[in-house]
Symmetry: C2
Subunit: 334 residues, 2 copies
Amino acid sequence: MASQRPVTITDVAARAGVSIATVSKALNGRGQVRAETRQRVMRAAEELSFQPNALARSLLSGQTRTVGLLTSDSVGRFGIPVLLGAEDAFGAGEMAVLLCDARGDSIREQHHIRTLLARRVDGLIVVGESTDARPSITRDLTVPVVYAYAPSDDPADVSFVPDDVDGAAQAIRHLVTLGRRRIAHVTGPTYYQASRDRAAGVTAALEEAGLSLSGGQVLYGAWSQRWGRQAAEVILRADPETDAVVCGSDQIAAGMVEAARERGRRVPEDFAVIGYDNWEVLSTETRPPLTTVDMNLEVLGRTAAQHLFAAIDGRATPGVHRMPCRLIIRDSTV
Amino acid sequence: MASQRPVTITDVAARAGVSIATVSKALNGRGQVRAETRQRVMRAAEELSFQPNALARSLLSGQTRTVGLLTSDSVGRFGIPVLLGAEDAFGAGEMAVLLCDARGDSIREQHHIRTLLARRVDGLIVVGESTDARPSITRDLTVPVVYAYAPSDDPADVSFVPDDVDGAAQAIRHLVTLGRRRIAHVTGPTYYQASRDRAAGVTAALEEAGLSLSGGQVLYGAWSQRWGRQAAEVILRADPETDAVVCGSDQIAAGMVEAARERGRRVPEDFAVIGYDNWEVLSTETRPPLTTVDMNLEVLGRTAAQHLFAAIDGRATPGVHRMPCRLIIRDSTV
DNA sequence: GAGAGCACCTAAAAGGTTTTCGGAAACGTA
DNA sequence: TACGTTTCCGAAAACCTTTTAGGTGCTCTC
């Protein structure tokens, strides 16, 4: 608790009766050091519980083994798993993560970038809260940047996003395999890239199966449970024969399941429902638990981190990389 | 992108035609520097977009303006707001946060502590995932530590936890004010401190009002929606006159509301329900939206961070500090 | 006109580590 | 003995900034 002076390499050298250069070499396994001397140094270091000062080391090497993690919007539901995956990948490689939350404020973001650069981070990972493209910050930055979840608007940057088009298509293909023929799609607002991508995936996969959308059009609304319930009414009135629906989020799906049951549809027998996000607190707690599309965000975060490593080593891989989603099959489809 | 040599104070000095000492003083506003010289230096720094190397600065001052944020268990639902609050408080003070997630593994935790100390963090904030006490790490650490959400088991440490006893009591008092008389309590497993604290608060507040628990005892179970539904059956069978229930979590409350309605109880008229956590995705999406206890976790995190500042300045405030909860009144009580 | 006082600036040290280069000791060979 | 070789260790520079102590030139006063 008391802030006594931390032990330095000089202390170890004195205790071992050698010079600081020898201590450095002994501990790092460099240069020529007699085995017996090395032992003596190691013992001294142990006894003093010496930890080399990372600052001094970084100052010299120019490498801080630190990366900045910039969340453009307040760390949300999607940011978290990405962050965890990244933290995981970095932690394994002895890297440390400086966390900065810009709260959706670009002034604040600029400020954070400046301080991160002043701290000489080796790289930057920018994680967004939606899959909509965000302004690039890579321009005139001296360190590599990787974007996760929200891609950069500059195609020359390195971005990782979930492949929502294919994710939604997987959901449709699953339903088609199960014999469903009148499938509707309810999703979030049109101004979300995620809504549009998922709708595109649904449409393409239906076409591929020679089917068309029940109701004739995608139902765009909000990401909420409430919209799920409303949409259920709309669908069942417009086309009472609808036997399945792919939802753009688990929240929508939860509302959908609830409202459908209230209107006498059995889920999944009469009416199969698929969610999106695999947000477990919701998807496993509905009755029945939801079949849903998981975006593998932890993997996405980890991959982004690994590619940041590569970029730091000068092996960047520009472009928008679409990471595969996977369908989690539970009881809301059969 | 290319890693050209970063510009140093020497470059600025050369451009401005002065010594590096003068540059330092001009930029930091120290010492005697003629106004005209200061201008020239500032201009040079601007033109080169000079950022002082934080490493060198820290090495000299012994202060890194960095704190470690150690999450003992994988950053969960409760960890996040605490983390955000802390990040907020630190960010405002030009501090940076090094994030480490130990994934519930104490070996990993030890490892993270070592590397954080090697990086010479100015302090540590340890955030837990439940309010159960956790082992102290303060022993023989050279920097101050503050615990958030999960208190340290050493009372001499500085810990911040939500005041669950009072939070639950607030819920009861609210119901009593509304005229409810037969109140039940359904909560999580007994081995959670949170369950026991909330039960204690419920019991005390009921006693204070001269009432006793409907059903005669606290119903301990799981934190899940499923348990909420089961418990609803138990309660309504054991004492059909029960007119209100305080739940230990929003998930339990959500199950409770659903099951009660299915059994013909009107919520809130016949049966008032109060949740806990104010986990908004759930508490605002149930029908009706839940009255619930909010633990103010962001405030808790921010406060913990501020006290860490204080501790760094040598003004520590030992003990377990209980932070007030607040009741959020929505439509599930009337 | 000389000493004192002032305003402004610079040289140098400090902070802790790694690395390079050179030096010292030990040993073998001529 | 003189010299070369090998093995091990130490001195010093480098990284970049801040701060202290000191130095230079100027003005003021008697």
